[in-house]
């Protein structure tokens, strides 16, 4: 079964037709990079997968998005249930003004888990999965705001992992970080692929080619090309894709 299956998706911000007939299929434990110039609709598409666009007034969608075979826009679907399955990491690190421990425990607690030992184990496990453990193990009760930007972003990844999602969405997760922190996040994506299906929006071509198995190129709301990353970056079918990845974009 496909992990993500978007069928004939159209999306509108009021009158603006932001996504035009998008079809994407993603298999389990793959990393998919979404690339394209600003305003092409790649972030909008990402935010459709955990229904974050619901928060914006005047938006409308047609088509179908299936996550593990389940139509996430069907009536009767609870968005909070969906968002437990589909985690998200944002462009700017946004840890809560709580301790490091409480940040990671937050998702478990709001979903009604009360067992303290379970929470503690899960928090430690998640911080380890986010490759942050060695840096924070002695200060779990310190404020998350005291961490560096790169550490904060890995904390946000740990926070997303704690509730055991099936899919992790990343919206330019490294664009606000320095090169060393960026490298750490990229290494982390390679590790996380073993357990999660990942979709990442990025403006950085090298990053897309380094971390992803498949790449989708968006332009003006259309999915121009979606193929294996190696094919997109070495021998793209569409001229527009080639222009974009070679920086000749006009």
């Amino acid at each position: 079964m496909l992990t993500i299956d978007a069928k004939n998706v159209d999306f509108y911000y009021s009158e603006f037709h932001a996504l035009k007939n998008i079809n994407i299929e993603v298999e389990k434990n793959k990393v998919v990079a979404l690339i394209g110039p600003s305003g092409c609709g790649k972030s909008t598409f990402l935010r459709l997968l955990n229904r974050m666009n619901d928060l914006i007034d005047g938006t409308r969608m047609t088509g179908q998005v299936l996550i593990e075979g389940k139509d996430i826009y069907a009536p009767g679907i609870h968005v909070d249930e969906l968002r437990k399955e589909v985690g998200m990491v944002f462009q700017k690190p946004n840890p809560f003004p709580k301790s490091i421990f409480e940040n990671v425990a937050y998702g478990l607690k709001v979903n009604g888990i009360k067992d303290k030992t379970f929470i503690e184990e899960r928090v430690i496990e998640s911080i380890k999965s986010a490759a942050l453990w060695d840096e924070v193990k002695d200060k779990l009760n310190k404020s998350a705001f005291a961490l560096s930007g790169g550490q904060q972003q890995r904390l946000c990844i740990a926070r997303a992992l704690a509730i055991s999602p099936k899919v992790v969405l990343m919206d330019e997760p490294a664009s606000a970080l320095d090169p060393i922190s960026t490298a750490k996040i990229e290494d982390l994506i390679h590790e996380l692929k073993k357990d999660y299906t990942i979709m990442i929006v990025t403006h950085n071509m090298q990053q897309a080619s380094r971390v992803s198995d498949k790449t989708a190129y968006f332009y003006l709301g259309e999915l121009i090309e979606y193929d294996d990353t190696i094919k997109i970056f070495t021998n793209p079918t569409e001229i527009s894709t080639q222009n974009y990845i070679t920086g000749r974009f006009g």
Partner: protein, 295 residues
Amino acid sequence: MTPVINANNSDNKKRWSQAIAFTIFKMMSYAVVAILFLILGFIVTKGIGVISWDFLTLAPEEGMTKGGIFPAIMGTIYLVLGSSLFSFPIGIMSGIYMNEYAKGNKVATFIRIMTNNLSGVPSVVFGLFGMSLFVNTMGFGDSILAGSLTLGLLSLPLVIRTTEESLKAIDQSYREGSLALGATKLQTIRKVVLPMAFPNIITGLILSIGRVSGETAPILFTVAAYFLPKLPTSIFDQVMALPYHLYVISTSGTDVEASRGIAYGTALVLIVIVLLVNLLANALRTYFSKKVKTN
């Protein structure tokens, strides 16, 4: 030939007007502080002589020319508490509704325009309205209840506004971060948004207390007693209150000249209460903004 700008001349002019402008701005801001200290100094020097333990703990005596102001202090405290009980919950909940649930829609805009208008209504009009509605129509009589409700109405716009502004200042990314973890909107508000906005909200609330404790007109027709040397026993009793007491003994007391000292003493007590409340607001804001980052 390239045109030459007479640099020296225009540079000098620029610097002069800059220097003059800053001097004026500086003098104006110092003047504000000076006026404030002048008022404080005036009240303190005139009033400090009257302040004693007896003044703070006894009822007025001999036609309010002697004795203390204890009933008025207590009356003001009751009214502040009573109006807060009314305006804080309603105001905070309205503020949350307007910013978190109805943001940008027509209902919220309408409520905002109305509350802004409400805050522009002169306080004596609130007094008249309170008298008509709470004292007469609802039959509470001149009472702590009627006075508290009237003062509560008066401070409601401030409380709503403060709550809304404090919530607005919280970056949307924190809300999204919480929602993305499967939290509901209510959980997000309770566990992330409100704790972050709390230091600012509490500052606004306390400032509204400062405002309420100094208001005279709204309590004039709804609760304030001219002379009532005992403490109230229920919320349907009248009380004395500091601002009204000050007004009474300065204008229509039994012997205005003889009460002059007490008037300054009362003013001093009122000012000290408001100052303490403001200092408390600052202290709490500092305390909570530290706390919110670590727990």
